[in-house]
Symmetry: C2
DNA sequence: ATCGTTGCAAACTCTTTGCAGGATT
DNA sequence: AATCCTGCAAAGAGTTTGCAACGAT
């Protein structure tokens, strides 16, 4: 039986209000405003639970800590700001229809990361 | 003054023969065949040097250890096999001409990762 | 012989886990 | 009251660094 703790509530709210993929560290910072003694271990544990519950989805990022975003969205890709490091969701798919692969290779999915400057860091 | 040690030679050769991006761990395995007491610390140190020397380029991979590939190639993307985890280089660019970004965002570059099965694991 | 490089082990960082106390139902 | 969850601290995994010995020049 899963319980509704202040910590879990604060973590879920952080994702709903941020509207972008968050790292565990970002979650700690944001959710600590509501539950000030929140520990990083609790953040990790709750993120795992929320992924299992399919409330969150893992976003693996090149060379960085994984981010997590609210699940259920359409196929999309991500943008990382070179300045602030924040990750944002992009709408739509950026890949050409038919990726050319070496013979014998079969593709099942793809990920695209766009880098540059976000609106706040422009 | 940089010296030509057996270790560095074995590491450089590993990249030349592998013909795909390698992780430090893969480098250790491959280069150990020639210099059997090779240590992982030496692999990391030599990779850093080779990146500084612009012989290697870092390939940041989503959710995995960075790989390194021989520098100087044309713009391309990467493929990771879901079975064996190896990373391969793909030719050409897979992204549509004009990525649609939120207002105020400016993009400078992109990375694409294709996943599936390689020829050996098909 | 000099001094850059190596291997080992310790240090770090990020993430996970054990445990006893605390909070939710 | 029962037991799930939390905070703390220790344990892991991957990468980096200090240091004395080694080896390329």
């Amino acid at each position: 039986m899963t319980r509704n703790t202040q910590q879990k509530e604060a973590i879920r709210t952080a994702f709903e209000q941020a509207n972008r993929p968050l790292s565990p560290d970002e979650v700690l910072t944001l959710a600590s405003k509501k539950v000030k003694q929140l520990s990083i271990a609790t953040v990790y544990r709750n993120i795992s639970t929320l992924v299992e519950d399919a409330f969150l989805l893992t976003v693996d990022v090149p060379g960085e800590a994984s981010r997590y975003e609210i699940a259920g969205k359409e196929h999309h890709h991500h943008f990382q700001c070179d300045e602030c490091g924040k990750i944002f969701e992009l709408e739509g798919c950026l890949v050409k229809d038919r990726p050319r692969l070496p013979r014998g290779f079969r593709s099942t999915r793809h990920e695209v990361f766009v880098y540059g400057h976000c609106a706040s860091c422009a």
